[in-house]
């Protein structure tokens, strides 16, 4: 089963070899429904997405702005559960065994299903990103991380230097730098502050550092890609999914992702 953790490492290595930046895309499982999520995941990959971040909906997502909150609410109206998300990942793996999948969510939904994380890799999930847990926690002791499942940690503009080194020491996969103070979808991107902080993080770890929160335009993506190893896009895609969900015309989203993918490798 060891190979499953390797999927993420393989992806990072192959990007590095090709001198390419990573494009990570987020969507909420079950918004508008799980069939669409599956379709979107494959579509994202075809449009140039390297790593998928699949949001696990929660009733009280305190780190999310209004766009992603609303998506969580819609997914919960469909009763989207963690078990169904595992099935979604398993189905995705029938056609795609290469693209790493990160399950992103809140501690309580994972805790409620304590076996969930032990089994997550058997369905084809590669890592978790738990928004409301400090990065230097004993992630193995809490049952979050195991030999088959990486745990991605966030570092914020407010994270102190001593905590950065602690977080780097217990991280695997990559580090996720939150480019702004605020919730997802905010708009106070400060590139020079991000650059300073990312350089410091890179001095503490050999893992790649991806940047996310507040990236909307290809220009944002281009600017951040110059100072990081990859970017994460969330709110702008989630908004488009919502806008397009009635006519199920996702082409606009794929075009957008394609543009972003070109921007970061410009």
């Amino acid at each position: 089963m060891e190979y499953l953790l390797i999927r993420l490492e393989d992806k990072i290595l192959s990007l590095k070899k090709a001198s390419k930046k990573a494009l990570v895309a987020y969507l909420v499982a079950g918004d508008p429904n799980l069939d669409s999520t599956l379709e979107l995941m494959h579509g994202f990959v075809d449009a140039g997405v390297d790593i998928l971040e699949v949001g696990v909906p929660f009733t009280d997502p305190i780190a999310e702005g209004p766009i992603i909150q609303a998506a969580h609410d819609r997914a919960l109206k469909n009763n989207t559960s963690l078990n169904e998300i595992f099935e979604l990942v398993e189905k995705f793996r029938e056609k795609n065994t290469e693209t790493p999948i990160i399950l992103m969510g809140y501690m309580n939904t994972f805790l409620a299903n304590s076996h969930a994380l032990k089994e997550a890799h058997t369905f084809g999930a590669d890592a978790v990103l738990i928004v409301d847990i400090p990065g230097e926690s004993d992630l193995e002791g809490l049952g979050i991380k195991n030999k088959n499942l990486a745990s991605i940690s966030l570092i914020a503009p407010t994270t102190s230097k001593d905590r950065i080194s602690k977080i780097c020491n217990c991280s695997s996969g990559f580090l996720y730098y939150v480019t702004l103070r605020g919730v997802t979808g905010s708009s106070h991107l400060d590139i020079s502050e991000a650059e300073k902080k990312i350089n410091h993080i890179k001095s503490q770890t050999s893992l790649p550092v991806f940047a996310g929160f507040g990236i909307k335009t290809p220009d944002d993506a281009f600017n951040l890609s110059k100072i990081s190893d990859g970017i994460v896009i969330g709110s702008s895609i989630v908004q488009m999914i919502h806008e397009q969900s009635n006519q199920k015309e996702f082409k606009k989203i794929y075009n957008y992702l394609h543009e972003m993918s070109e921007a970061i490798n410009r």
Binding site: D60, Q69, S81, N108, V131, L154, T159, S160, R181, G182
Partner: protein
Amino acid sequence: MDNLTDLPNSDGFFGEYGGKFVPETLMHALKELDETYSKLKNDQKFIEEIDQDLVQFVGRPSPLYFAERLTDYYSGPQIWLKREDLNHTGAHKINNTVGQILLAKAMGKKRIIAETGAGQHGVATATVAARLGLECHIYMGAADVKRQSLNVYRIKLLGAKVHAVDSGTATLKDALNEAMRDWVTNIEDTYYIIGSVTGPHPYPMIVRDFNAIVGRELRKQSMEQFMQYPDAIVACVGGGSNAMGIFYPFLEESNVELIGVEAAGSGLMSGKHAAPLNDGEPGILHGAKSYLMQDKNGQVIDTHSISAGLDYPGVGPEHSNLKDSGRANYIAVDDVEVLSSFHLVTKLEGIMPALETAHAFAALEHIAKNYKSNQHIVINVSGRGDKDINTVATMDGISLD
């Protein structure tokens, strides 16, 4: 077993409950708050400043009052009332806000935010912010804005801005979500005054410590007025700050029974209630591990209570530990019992309790019979009921228009 008074530990845990389960952006602010508080809590000048405010601004000490007619009514134990309803602004909430606003000042924060359910914490926060001339924003569930309109207007009169929160269930939990989001966004200049013993460490400890004045006064007053510590102390529990404040100084007095009263809403069996300690499972919400109303998938479930202040799916982590350790007992009373208790106390004692507080009174129906006439029960009268007259009138089918 650990000495209960020494908790939380340095990571913020009361046994297995508590901790800091928050987005990374908040970690630094929590550490800063922890350090500031650790330094100031033993600082003579800081202590004197708070003590002076509690006496001259809040009106402390609050009386310990013998409820003669209520005692006669139950013909059991002697019933005493700790009168937090007589504090400035009408509830215990001001004890916490006068302390936290001084922390905010010491940390140089210019902007104050808070969540509120019944509006009492919103009023208490807007009050201390007005006094220091600080910008103040209060988050309140849209449903609560409606049922606590009197307090909403008070908050506005005090110069604070009220943000009605429409998301989720539009009650206290959603107000907390929104306040947290504001804090994440404005972390540099903003101080978040949490109103209960909930949230990430160090809040449950800080809010408890500032409310513990209630229990410390009671130690002294009970000795002076009936020559012993109470046999039992009864307090309502939503997040649990008034209960924690009166319980804490008695944790090591094993002869003093501690009874928390949760909101059973339409009844524990109905599932429509707000009683996580009676009918919940441990989980994580708003930064701490504690008992929580949740479904099997770990989603937080809708709560119901006649009282906006108790209408919350979680509870302070220290209460969870007191429950598991057996040091405190937690019971629940339903809306109907609460309303009848509200009327009873108002008529018998001339004291109109808040609907939150009426839960503690309603517990007497269940427990009074267990005590003898030479025993003493203290009810923490956490707040006054003026804010609730619209709700009470509606329940009684009376129009005030």
